[in-house]
Amino acid sequence: MYGNKPADFENFWDDVDNDLAGISIAPEVEYIRMRSNNDADLYGVRITSVGPYRLFAYLSIPKGEGPFPAIYYVPKNGSVHEVIPQGTATGIRSRYVTFSVAGRGMRNSDKPYTAMYPGQLTDGLESADTYVYRGIIADALRGLEYLITRPEVDSTRIVAWGNDIAVLAAARRNEITHVVSTPAYLFDPVEHALKTSSYPLAEYSDYLRLYPDRKHDVESILSMYNTRWHAPEVKAETLLRADHSSGIYNPDVLSDLENGIAGNVTVHESERSSFKDGLFAEKWITEKFFGADATAIVPEHWRSAL
């Protein structure tokens, strides 16, 4: 089972913050003409995270007078680093600052560490200090620290959008006002990995099949990252995008996470339709940032459902 919150939990994460504080963000910003348009300008941004490790990010800024609400796409478990997620209406770049950080190992941030997928989730799992997610979470925090330096960003409206890392980032940084999270691999990870052969969670079960004697150590290391223990620090208003009831991270399984988060939580159970699930999330954030009368900016084939 999930065990207890580690005794050295706060010290561990304070050390991450101290490591970040000791390293200059050192941003370099470069205009990207091809991905700029009448709605927004796109920039490539390089910043430094712990290591020191140089990261790449895409920053899109709407044309016109700001400040604008911001969507912060946190690092994900996948190689591809997008400007905005596939299938998202490009028109959202006229309304939001969007900021997408490639965590270490992802494309554009893959020197010197090139992650494999599957593979990334168990890299460095020898100890809590060597586990690659220590760096990846630091990357997510560093990205937020850069984003809030931008004068175009409305600091009262910043949403962290992604998988479990969005919850961790909000737990560590109160500047994140909203969270849209699809839990996938850091809520009671070992317990749930042993129930599935689907990736990414199955990376943990693959690892434990090959190294069964390490189960206790792995559980101990991952407890530092378990969103269960981070939830009480999340003050942001949160949308949890749960699996369908037939899936691993269904609403019942996530109830402890839902109840643990300090901020208001909405749970949306997947309707097993990327259209319905996506539309719900777009309407949720639109209402939170612009009010109930505002219309979400959605792709052409979704508009008749607005």
Binding site: M34, S79, V80, E82, G87, T88, A89, R107, K276, G278
Partner: protein
């Protein structure tokens, strides 16, 4: 928007389409496949053995793949080619092996493990070299996928008379081309096919990845004719009249990545008489996957295993 089920795409198949692809195949056929295969104990489990595979493709690019076979299988196995999406990382298709197939999941050039010699990135792949059919990224990318057939035929445990191909999104587009160009493919499942009706798709939707072409044309408007000429050689609709095997194709009517209109258009162009179309209202790019997976299983069971 209401989906026009009778939508017809603008693409015109080039007169020298066959000549172009015959030339490409001639080039790749001169390159030894030189496959290598190494067991991956980390990814193997009680049911399935997983191998890391490499083989040569066009321009001597070394292509990686995952190969999964049922543990302890005896006799010849039906085989499956799993084709990858545009931005997702190619999966280890253990579930196909668990169902009794020898399955290769291909990582065409630029994907994870196949990036050393060619890596245009994402965004980037869709427009890399798009000014000329001979420099376009998908010239090699398609061939990398097609060569998976050669790998399967090199394996003693594979029944070469029962090979299927399956994919969604870009994987669906690749499934169209592989079933058109490799007659060894006996049955194909195509979901939400990308890379069909390129020049229509960029008007029907304004979302990545198709929007990469709009970005490109916004920057290089003078290249529009070159782009149109190039993509006609790579459009799934141009390949469709070569498909003679059994086909199932599904789309979601609210697909925000691949316009469903292009799915109807490519299905209409498929030559096979053994083809069936499934549309899922209320679904996006998932194309009704949770319902359609069972249909795919039954389809291959019938076509490759002689089941009912």
């Amino acid at each position: 928007m209401e989906v026009d089920r009778n939508y017809r795409c603008k693409v015109v198949k080039p007169d020298d389409f066959d000549e172009f692809w015959d030339g490409v195949l001639s080039d790749v056929n001169a390159i030894d496949l030189d496959p290598s295969m190494e067991k991956d104990d980390l990814r193997s489990n009680d049911e399935v053995d997983v191998y890391q595979v490499y083989y040569n493709s066009l321009d001597h690019v070394r292509i990686s793949a995952w190969y999964s076979v049922p543990k302890g299988a005896t006799g010849k196995l039906p085989a499956m080619i799993q084709l990858p999406g545009y931005q997702s990382d190619p999966p280890i298709a253990r579930e196909w092996a668990a169902k009794g197939y020898a399955c290769i999941s291909v990582n065409p050039r630029g994907k994870v493990r196949s990036r050393t010699q060619f890596d245009p990135g994402y965004p980037g792949l869709l427009t890399y070299g798009i000014v000329d059919k001979n420099s376009y990224s998908y010239r090699g990318f398609y061939v990398d996928a097609w060569r998976a057939v050669d790998f399967l035929l090199s394996r003693p445990e594979v029944d070469g008379a029962n090979i299927g191909a399956v994919g969604g999104s870009q994987g669906g587009g690749l499934a169209i081309t592989i079933s058109a160009m490799r007659k060894e493919v006996k049955a194909v499942s195509i979901s939400a096919p990308y890379l069909c009706g390129y020049m229509d798709a960029i008007e029907l939707t304004h979302a990545y990845p198709f929007h990469e072409i709009n970005d490109y044309l916004h920057t290089h408007p003078e290249r529009r004719e070159d782009v149109e000429n190039t993509v006609a050689y790579f459009d799934g609709i141009s390949f469709a009249d070569k498909i003679e095997c059994a086909v199932i194709l599904n789309v979601g009517l609210q697909d925000n990545v691949v316009p469903p209109e292009t799915g109807y258009a490519v299905f209409d162009a498929i030559a096979s008489n053994n083809k069936k179309f499934y549309e899922y209202d209320g679904h996006g790019h998932d194309a009704g996957r949770y319902m359609h997976d069972a249909i795919i299983d039954k389809f291959f069971e019938a076509e490759l295993k002689g089941g009912n």
